[in-house]
């Protein structure tokens, strides 16, 4: 039964290909994590919208394949389904960080990087009674004595929360030796990190904005910088790092990759489908309501942007000794 459906799906895809542009059918979305996490959310939300907007004919099937921070799904797709044009896999900055640090079985070129549809924005914050008034205060303090203010976030050493903070310090002129000595503590999420900061156990938190927005609203914390191109629409009072003269953006984007051996037609077809989804009113509303900023990068442009991001992460990771 399943086999039959699959072959007919392949046959259908073949017919479509020979006719004109590629149209995905019987789409499966792999969320490389357990239900409930960010990647699961990406698959389920986008999958639902693809069907609701009639960009695909059948409901999108979501498969959870947890393990190795996405490495299990990555190796599974590379080994068994490298030319399946009806498969998309959810990924994000977290996945790219793993690749940059050599923790996936293969490099970027094993997959085709499809698009990002939105992003959570990095943020640096302190307690509202902290002596650090601006981003510059903090970064200068780090340059004088990297051990002065313990920082925390939801990733481990060398994870994206950590690296984003170091990118700021580096841009402000800190040396490799200095950024290496900034103390970093990992918590189970941005919320726990902020409560630990409120309890006085750490001084600074660097994490995604979406998780900690509640503390900004309540006034318990002072935001030193948001790491986006422009100020956030919902919080126009919060300054960006850029406007304070530290030219770094730190998005935690949500997007997809395709298996590495799909045809150019399929790749282009998928990029068109995703662009249509991105442009829809529904996605724009959904993204904002989930605390994401809608940002589009797709196709070749996305691929080269991912390469650039990965190279920068690799550089920082080497400098702080996470990889050799």
């Amino acid at each position: 039964m399943a086999m039959g459906r699959w072959t007919s799906a392949v046959a259908a895809a073949g017919v479509w290909l020979s006719l004109s542009a590629f149209t995905p059918s019987s789409v499966e979305c792999i969320a490389p994590a357990d239900p409930g996490g960010g990647w699961d959310f990406t698959c389920r939300t986008v999958g639902k919208l693809l069907y609701d907007l009639e960009l695909v004919k059948e409901p999108v099937k979501v498969t959870n394949m947890a393990g190795g921070v996405g490495a299990v799904a990555f190796s599974n797709v590379a080994a068994k389904r490298s030319d399946d044009p009806n498969l998309i896999v959810a990924t994000s900055t977290v996945g790219i960080t793993q690749i940059a640090q050599g923790r996936y079985p293969g490099d970027l070129d094993v997959m085709r990087w499809l698009a990002m549809l939105g992003a959570d924005v990095g943020v640096v914050l302190v307690r509202n009674d902290s002596k650090y008034e601006t981003l510059d205060d903090l970064l200068q303090a780090y340059k004088e004595n990297p051990g002065v203010a313990v920082a925390a976030g939801s990733s481990g050493i060398g994870g994206w929360d950590h690296i984003r903070l170091l990118m700021l310090a580096k841009e402000a002129g800190a040396t490799g030796e200095q950024i290496k000595n900034i103390r970093w503590v990992q918590y189970d999420g941005g919320g726990p990190a902020v409560t630990q900061m409120l309890g006085g156990h750490v001084e600074v938190v660097a994490t995604d904005f979406g998780e900690i927005a509640g503390f900004v609203e309540s006034g318990d914390v002072r935001v030193l910088a948001v790491m986006s191109d422009e100020r956030l629409e919902a919080f126009p009072d919060l300054p960006t790092a850029k406007e304070q003269g530290v030219d770094v953006v730190g998005y935690n984007w949500r997007g997809f990759y395709l298996p590495g051996k799909v045809s150019d037609e399929a790749y282009q077809g998928w990029a068109d489908v995703m662009k249509k989804l991105y442009d829809s009113q529904e996605w724009q509303e959904t993204a904002v309501s989930k605390g994401l900023t809608p940002i589009w990068r797709g196709g070749e442009e996305f691929e080269s942007w991912v390469e650039d991001q990965t190279a920068r992460m690799r550089g920082i990771s080497k400098e702080i000794g996470v990889i050799k």
Partner: protein
Amino acid sequence: MDTLNALFYGFGVALQPLHLALGFFGAFIGTLVGALPGIGPVNGVAILIPLAFSLQLSPTAALILLSSVYYGTMYGGRISSILLNIPGDEPAVMTTLDGYPMARSGRAASALAVSGVASFVGGTLATVGLTLFAPILARAAIHFGPAEYFALYVLAFATIGGITGANPAKTLLAAMIGLAIGTVGLDPATGIPRFTFDSYHLYDGVDFIVAIVGLFAISEFLIFLERPAGTHQPRVEIGSMRGAYRDVRRSFGAMLRNSVVGFIAGVLPGAGASLGSFLAYVFERRISNRNDTFGKGDPRGVAAPEAGNNAAAGGALVPMLTLGVPGSGTTAVMLAMLITLNITPGPLLFEKQAELVWGLIAALYLANVVLVILNLPLVGIFTRLLALPYWLLMPIVVMASFVGVYSISHSPFDLYMMIGFGVFGYVLRKLEISLVPVVLGLLLGEAMEFNLRRALSISNGDWTYLVSSPIANTIYVATAVLLAIAVAMALRRERTPH
């Protein structure tokens, strides 16, 4: 008086027909999910999130559904612990210690009734605590940093030796094995793989549920296979409801005491129901085990962990609702759902989402009543399970284990792991090493290591940081006193001739 008004308003929300129906449905599903080996509370709640979305429930309705499931799993987990010696989920591990011996000695009905009432008492007292003290408690809990958490886990490990009546050396050995298994996976501070043998499947470490199902359910099956064909297990008495009533009365004090213990463990973010039920059992054993009845089927040994884990589940909602910080793995999943429903969890939730918060709290009172009403009459049906012949029961258990584990992860690797743990559990049983400390080592060890590493990151490797806080030092003193009492009691027991 404000609180009372708000609660009154909350009952208005919770008693809407839709919310009432969802609460009832959630409580029922939760009991089932908790009873099935392989699907713990985290996954049970996660599985229902798509349902909440597809029914287009309001955030209040969705949260009422999921919280009822959460409370329900705490009730359900005990059933297979008591009847089969197979914990349905992590917090029910401690219930096997006295629950299963009670069932073996013909008091299954009593054990189920005691644990049902204990769950009700724990759940309800925790909800009262949540109603009255949530904001104050949340502000107090933030003073618990890595050093204080580490001290708390030291206390837990120092008392592990006392949880089984058997050879303390073997108990310690078992806990060490659990700790060792817990080191598999990515190093929590640096992300460097440990003992993963280049397999990406091991990067996330060993899944607790897979380990528990393997150790308990699969090894039970292997023990069963050993028996020569045609042997009949002796028929087990179920026990009368009158005996049950007596046991409930006798263990009522234990329920009250350990609701408090469990609630406190739940309020601390990141500690959760497993620590709650563990501390409750240890605490009760310390103060009540005068005639050495614990571990042999003492109803108070059933009441304590069940009151503890249900109270902890309620306690875990305190940091979730007041700070937007998960108190346990399950509340973490519920928080993620709130965010996707466009509710910003955080310190302002009580003010900005009064309907949601107070509706939920009222719904929890109702869910507890529903659960106890649902569970007590079911005692009779559940105990019939014991009348089933083993050759029928064991294959069903194994099938449920395989389906449960696979349905969550879709990973054949997890099934191999489960079988591996089954064989390992079989060997340990043959060596008369208790399985419970192994699981505790695994469950608590990970959190303990995380907090130790955090503390050392903060202090840049300075170990004195661990003893620089008054709260932590108070816990260490309490640990020392407990250990001293245990040693003194052991010495005295040796001196008095039997």
